[in-house]
């Protein structure tokens, strides 16, 4: 066997594979980043500049913030933001209370019918939201809650999956802690508040972040129950901007709105990167 030759081919092969790997990874990274670059770039181009470029340029010589001013004045983007923030905060807060209480009941309390309730509850995970949205739409219309925050929020609150996630986490806390707290005369509620919640904080934070992302991007339900611009969330707002805002053709201003809508979550992601990715790999899906 010619060892020297084998060594050299192996080394060359390894180098080629490595170069190829990096090239492919960089290619995909460009593909992912390009739309973001494009929206920021376009949002900084002047209206006249953009429309005069038959061949779109990959940079701009005269960046302007005019489009951002327009995005917040010509269309009620500020209102959409405010609506989305209210919607996100209230939905997440109510969801959290409901989830924590239910998870605690399933994880720690002994009551008749618990196992049956939990089985039924688990089977609810399989119900797709698309199937129930029809009746919910009818219900909310009947209750005359269209174009109200209540109509937006109430059907978005309960999430079987988050309850399940938190219940599993609560159940991992050793029983001894519960008994010790009982010995000290701590009530169930105080035990939940003072012991379980602090111990399970990472999971709770994960749930909060996932819910916030979900709320911020929600489109289908808000679109169904709101047709009054004053109650649009950012997704619906973007859609209405696309169809009627800025005289339809002011692309740079549209892109400014898109940047404004996308930025908060990207910042949130960069800050909580590990927590979000861990949370998603434990059970988030999109689509």
């Amino acid at each position: 066997m010619d060892y020297e030759k084998i060594e050299k081919t192996a080394a060359r092969k390894a180098r080629i594979v490595k170069a190829f790997t990096y090239a492919a990874l960089i290619f995909w990274a460009v593909l992912v980043l390009f739309p973001f670059y494009w929206m920021v770039l376009t949002s900084l181009k002047g209206y006249g500049e953009y429309n005069s470029e038959f061949v779109p340029k990959l940079f701009t010589a005269n960046p302007t913030l005019q489009n951002y001013v327009q995005a917040f004045t010509d269309v009620p983007l500020g209102q959409y933001f405010l609506n989305t923030i209210i919607f996100t905060l209230v939905t997440t807060a109510i969801m959290l209370i409901v989830t924590v209480l239910a998870a605690f009941a399933f994880a720690r309390l002994e009551f008749r019918g618990k196992n049956l309730a939990f089985t039924l509850f688990l089977s609810l995970m399989m119900i797709p939201s698309e199937l129930v949205v029809i009746t919910n739409y009818v219900t909310v219309t009947d209750w005359e809650l269209r174009n109200t925050f209540a109509g937006l929020i109430l059907p978005s609150v309960a999430s079987v999956f988050y309850i399940y996630l938190l219940k599993e986490n609560f159940a991992q806390v050793p029983n001894e802690l519960y008994y010790a707290a009982k010995m000290d005369g701590t009530s169930d509620f105080m035990f939940l508040w003072k012991v379980l919640i602090p111990i399970c904080r990472p999971t709770i934070v994960t749930i909060i972040i996932l819910k916030v992302v979900e709320c911020w991007n929600s489109f289908v339900w808000p679109r169904l129950v709101t047709d009054d611009e004053r109650y649009f969330l950012v997704s619906g707002g973007i859609q209405s901007i696309r169809e009627s805002g800025f005289g339809r053709e002011n692309i740079p201003a549209m892109m400014a709105a898109v940047v404004a809508v996308s930025a908060p979550l990207i910042v949130l992601f960069l800050v909580f990167r590990n927590r979000i990715m861990e949370g998603v790999s434990r059970g988030g899906t999109k689509g």
Partner: protein
């Protein structure tokens, strides 16, 4: 096949940013392993023995130095061309394959003229399976096997391609005590019947002592001593080797030599001809104590533990670096437990002297 290491050095980049420089896992190791021997690579954890093994397998590349298999320089050769069999500490059996599938795995990679038909592969697999006595389990999946059986499958998989060199990484550490005894005999038997040069890594000196033809004692990336098990036990080259081998461990005393006599706690306990006057570290094997009412070595008696074949006298001495001394004496010896102290004579061959700072052995004449 003879294996030769020449000035082998492996450095890893330091992960701790506060400390500058690389971590040297293997430090200038030179060594020759004769053909057909069973070698135990022995040392405490982190001594570089697993790194050495991975350098031999080709999974790691040395920073400096050379490795020869026979007369071939294989230093930069990728693992698949080295013809080594490697048994991992956790066995690394593929959970989705049966025992047969696992053993056949290396054969499926053969190319060109060496390529085998499925029939031939299974015959070969069955052959080695018989050698390691698992031929009745061929259709099981790894998770249906006991630890000892998994170990055998792993060895069979390493042997099936008739390697020039067999490497075993901590082969017994995942087995319970009884299986460990049984399996180490098994490794010895398999090595004998195949005649393949075999190197196994272990931190358990008893394991290394019991089956190896040759033991290599490593510490901090460097080889301290190479030799037959009994040689290393009887004639340790330094304090580390002396303390690392033997159960119960050797007893280490702060002592001094004056006028060719060894003094422990101010009392002359042994003649040491040819040793200059100096402060010294003395080490005494547990079996180096001989009960004698007029013995020179006196210790505070604690208790006597009867262990059947022999008796261990547990006592204390202020100059001993350990809290308790365990002297092993024959069970027919009588110890007067009413007394506060016990006296011993020391057997000259079981007492070793080491340099106080360097720990190097100081030899006694005669």
């Amino acid at each position: 096949m003879k294996v030769t290491l020449q000035n082998l050095t492996k450095k890893f980049p330091n992960r701790n940013k506060k400390v500058k420089g690389d971590v040297i896992a293997v430090d200038d190791v030179s060594l020759e392993i004769p053909d057909g021997t069973l070698v135990g690579l022995l040392g405490p954890s982190g001594c570089g023995k697993s790194t050495t093994l991975n350098l031999l397998s080709g999974l790691l590349q040395p920073t400096e130095g050379k490795i020869f298999f026979g007369d071939d320089d294989v230093t930069r050769l990728p693992p698949e061309h080295r013809g080594v069999g490697l048994v991992f500490q956790n066995y690394a059996l593929y959970p989705h394959r049966t025992v047969m599938g696992n053993i056949c795995f290396p054969l499926e990679n053969l190319k060109g003229e060496q390529k085998l038909t499925k029939q031939q592969m299974q015959e070969k697999a069955l052959e080695v399976a018989k050698l390691v006595q698992i031929d009745g389990l061929m259709e099981r999946k790894p998770n249906e096997l006991s630890g000892g059986q998994q170990q055998r499958v792993a060895i069979a998989r390493a042997l099936v391609k008739m390697p020039r060199l067999l490497l075993l990484d901590e082969p017994l550490s995942n087995l319970d005590a009884r299986l460990r005894l049984q399996t180490r005999e098994e490794i010895r038997r398999i090595q004998r019947s195949t005649g393949i040069t075999t190197i196994f890594v272990t931190h358990d000196q008893e394991e290394a002592m019991s089956i190896s033809d040759l033991i290599i004692v490593m510490k901090d990336g460097a080889i301290h001593q190479v030799g037959k098990p009994q040689e290393i036990y009887d004639d340790p080259i330094d304090l580390f080797v002396a303390t690392f081998l033997g159960t119960p461990p050797i007893h280490v005393f702060d002592a001094n030599v004056k006028g060719e006599k060894l003094y422990i706690g101010g009392k002359a306990v042994l003649d040491v001809p040819g040793v200059a006057d100096q402060d010294i570290t003395a080490a005494i094997r547990p079996e180096g104590f001989e009960l004698d009412e007029n013995g020179a070595f006196e210790a505070e008696l604690d208790r006597v533990e009867v262990m059947g074949r022999d008796v261990s006298v547990v006592c204390r001495h202020e100059n001993c670096q350990a809290d308790a001394i365990r002297a092993i004496i024959p069970s027919d010896a009588q110890v007067d437990t009413a007394k506060a102290t016990v006296r011993f004579d020391l057997k000259p061959g079981k007492v070793y002297l080491f340099h106080k700072e360097t720990g190097k052995r100081i030899r006694v004449e005669g």
